[in-house]
């Protein structure tokens, strides 16, 4: 006797709402204009081009501070999302409450950015991989690209302090 599977729209609605709550809770994500696309539990961060992200108006090129912030945001959201996803799927949090609840975010301990190429004045994308996530500490790697997925323009690695459970 198994329960019938949940309708796909219900599942999607629940997951999208939780992700929206997580992302919209952080003002700085809105300031940069970053949004997240979700396929199952995989997130891709998108940084749509805006004039205010320019650091060198002569080239023009994206500001290294803007692109490194983009990667840091991606790493933090990925980490928080992994926890949120597990809780959501296990039914440990009420999806309706999740939408109004402020997310418990990991804190950055250190973040090292490797600027591989100039950021072009167009959209950028990023994905993070959690290499280790313990009870207290996590290590995350992030890669950002623009036109070609195989040609990253920026990569970073960081350590994070996990929020108290």
């Amino acid at each position: 006797m198994t329960r019938p599977p949940e309708p796909v729209q219900v599942v999607k609605q629940r997951r999208d709402a939780a992700l929206r709550a997580l992302v919209s809770g952080v003002p700085y994500i809105g300031f940069l204009g970053v949004r997240f696309e979700r396929l199952g539990d995989e997130l891709t961060a998108v940084l749509p081009f805006q004039d205010k992200l320019i650091g060198n108006p002569l080239l023009p090129a994206l500001h290294g501070g803007a692109t490194s912030a983009f990667l840091e945001v991606t790493a933090i959201v990925e980490l928080a999302w992994a926890t949120l996803w597990a809780d959501l799927e296990a039914g440990r949090i009420d999806p309706d409450i999740a939408e109004t609840m402020l997310p418990r975010l990991p804190k950055t301990i250190d973040f090292t950015v490797d600027f591989l190429r100039t950021g072009l004045p167009r959209d950028a994308y990023a994905r993070a991989r959690v290499n280790r996530s313990g009870r207290r500490y996590a290590s995350v790697q992030v890669e950002g690209w623009q036109d070609n997925r195989a040609r990253p323009f920026i990569q970073a690695t960081g350590h994070f302090l996990m929020p108290d459970a």
């Binding site: 809770g25 809105g30 500001h63 290294g64 803007a66 973040f111 600027f115």
Partner: protein, 150 residues
């Protein structure tokens, strides 16, 4: 340093340059000091920059933008006179959360300048005395005008 006319002229020129950077304007960067491979740039607290809505603490990403800009300014102000610079690598250590509603001031200094790379160290402080909010180490590319390479 306000009394030194040469320094004052450099500060004015550098401020003009900083005002041309859109991200610097969006974050309201203010160049406080520059010269001799050292720069001080500060940024006001702003609710749009909050990274943790539970505490009102500014997102680390805003501090990295400040540190990156400050390191670039310090590199370009080095007495050896590089004409171009770009970030190769920037590492930031977040020592403690920045206090909400306080200005953050970054100070960057060229630790060593070579013909192609500048190595920098930077710290960021809020208005509280003592421990910095964050420290950074960075490597920047540098290009010198052709005639200096003889």
């Amino acid at each position: 340093m306000e009394t030194d006319p040469q320094m004052a002229a450099l500060l004015a020129r550098a401020r003009q340059f900083l005002a041309m950077i859109p991200l610097g304007q969006a974050l309201a960067f203010r160049l406080d000091q520059i010269g001799g491979g050292r720069a001080v740039i500060s940024m006001p607290w702003d609710e749009r920059l909050i990274g943790d809505p539970r505490t009102g603490v500014i997102h680390g990403g805003a501090i990295s933008a400040l540190m990156d800009t400050c390191c670039g300014a310090a590199a370009i102000s080095h007495p050896e006179g590089p004409e171009m610079t770009a970030t190769l690598d920037l590492r930031i250590d977040y020592m403690r959360p920045a206090a909400a509603r306080q200005r953050i001031t970054a100070t960057a200094e060229v630790f060593r300048m070579t013909r192609s790379v500048a190595f920098l160290r930077a710290t960021a402080c809020d208005e509280q005395e003592g421990q910095p909010v964050a420290t950074a180490t960075a490597a920047f590319t540098v290009d010198f005008p052709k005639e200096d390479r003889t």
